[in-house]
Amino acid sequence: MTRRADVRVTVDSGSCIAGGQCEMLEPEVFVVDDIEGVASVIGAATLPRDRAEIVVDRCPGRAVRILVDATRTLDADEPTAGE
């Protein structure tokens, strides 16, 4: 997988602290609910892998995950596949 290829992202609502970094970096993909104070993904929730990794890195709650497949997410500390 190349760094430009699209990956799907998701937000773990249990660890989200609504820091707003995701919404700032990728407003087309993430939105923060002001009342509940939790972020979620909108639309197809896909991003080029390199941009997705920046969001994962900047997320203060470590709540943004990259979906490896339908059942597994890539952890922030886990090395990226395909490099």
């Binding site: 919404e23 923060v32 104070g37």
Partner: protein, 416 residues
């Protein structure tokens, strides 16, 4: 692997900071292998001084706890910690719950809604500063801008701003060695150890917050205090003690830190006129200039964590219960993260500055608001072609915790 003990390199004596951050001492610690054990009181702490290590501690809140002991250098007794606990001194899940109550107001999208208001305040203050032909930059611009903004968000009437700035100044004293007000100031009867910063001004701020709370219960408005009052009514979301500590944090952090950034920013531009000229020539540099002001200022010098288990960092073994202190002031001058770190450079694009912390759940709640306030002020100064010239020596706060500037004289020169 071992660690280094150096006793001629104290970085906690508040008096040191009257002459500025002791950067050479931090540089020595950054170069030493592992972490440095720094004596403090009867005990000591691991000094975390490198950018990469501050990042590591910040992002591992399960290992490096905010809820144990205290987030300042000294431990609090259990009852004091409970009485003073705010979202700064909590771990998940309490931290997550508290943070979510207020986080919505500080997201980039919602902060941008305040841009017009921030600009109006900035313009008013700058116009007055120019009209007066200068004066104390802290009193005239750096202090009033952020306090007026945070008070507007909270819903505090603007005529109370001076009173809350006064309280905030006493709180800063509480981070140093001296208190200029007696323990019973503001009608305080609470033991000082049970109050944030051990200051009777905290009692006054609590009372102020509670009075606002009563008013908003009767007459809700579209402001942050009303939002918190509603959360408190909602069983289990916010206790009365959590409310008053949250109000306290919002007022203090919402004004003290950005005030510091705006003061050091003004100093940096006065000392490096070519950097200001670069901004005047190319306004697209405002964003990177804002980040550089933040790096340069590092308004909060450190935060402490406490190891919740035996662990290891930078090759140093840390025992469960050890204090671990992240020195943001040092991380922001680490040449492993920033090329030529002691150069103020508005075009800098290398490292991630840690003025808001090193990431992780305690990342500054007001980060986007602070950025907005700094960038709007710089823009409005640039629009008016105002160049600052320093006229008096800077007077710094004797504090190892906040990088406070008490006063500095500046005159505006309009350049073309």
């Amino acid at each position: 692997m071992g660690s280094t003990t150096i006793d001629d390199t104290n970085v906690t004596d508040p008096r040191l900071y009257l002459d500025g951050v002791p950067h050479e001492r931090f540089a020595r610690m950054r170069r030493a292998p592992g972490l440095t054990w720094h004596p403090y009181g009867d005990d000591g702490f691991w000094a975390v001084t490198r950018h990469a290590d501050v990042r590591e501690v910040s992002r591992n809140p399960e290992v490096f706890s905010s809820a144990i002991g205290h987030t300042n250098l000294w431990d609090l007794e259990a009852d004091a910690l409970e009485a003073r606990r705010s979202l700064i001194d909590t771990d998940a899940p309490d931290h997550t719950r508290l943070r979510r109550l207020v986080a919505g107001a500080f997201t980039p999208k919602n902060v941008r809604k305040w841009e017009v208001a921030v600009r109006e305040i900035a313009v008013e203050l700058l116009d007055e500063f120019v009209e007066l032909g200068g004066g104390d930059w802290v009193d005239l611009v750096a202090a009033p801008l952020p306090i007026r903004v945070i008070l507007s968000m909270l819903g505090v009437p603007v005529e109370d701003a001076d009173y809350l700035v006064e309280l905030s100044n006493y709180l800063v004293e509480g981070t140093g060695d001296t208190q200029s007000i007696p323990p019973d100031a503001f009608g305080n009867t609470t033991e000082l150890r049970l109050l944030p910063f051990g200051s009777p001004a905290s009692h006054a701020l609590f009372e102020y917050g509670e009075e606002m709370q009563r008013q908003r219960r009767e007459e809700p408005r579209d402001d942050l205090v009303t939002h918190l009052v509603e959360a408190e009514a909602d069983e289990g979301r916010l206790s009365p003690n959590e409310y008053r500590n949250l109000f306290h944090v919002l007022v203090f952090a919402g004004n003290e830190t950005t005030r510091t950034a705006l003061s050091h920013g003004a100093l940096a531009f006065a000392e490096n006129p070519e950097q200001w000229q670069a901004v005047l020539d190319d306004r697209s540099l405002i964003d990177s200039a804002t980040e550089e002001v933040l790096r340069w200022a590092t308004p909060v010098l450190h935060m402490r964590r406490t190891a919740s288990c035996d662990t290891e960092l930078a090759g140093t073994e840390i025992a469960s219960g050890d204090k671990v202190v992240m020195w943001y002031a040092s991380a922001n001058r680490d040449d492993a993260a920033f090329a030529d770190p002691f150069r103020f450079d508005v075009t800098r694009a290398d490292g991630e500055q840690f003025a808001f912390g090193g990431g992780g759940p305690h990342y500054c709640l007001g980060a986007f608001l602070a950025r907005l306030e700094i960038s709007v002020l710089l823009e409005e100064m640039a629009v008016r072609s105002i160049r600052l010239e320093q006229t008096t020596e800077v007077v710094r706060a004797p504090s190892n915790f906040v990088h406070g500037v008490l006063s500095v004289g500046m005159v505006p020169e309009v350049v073309r």
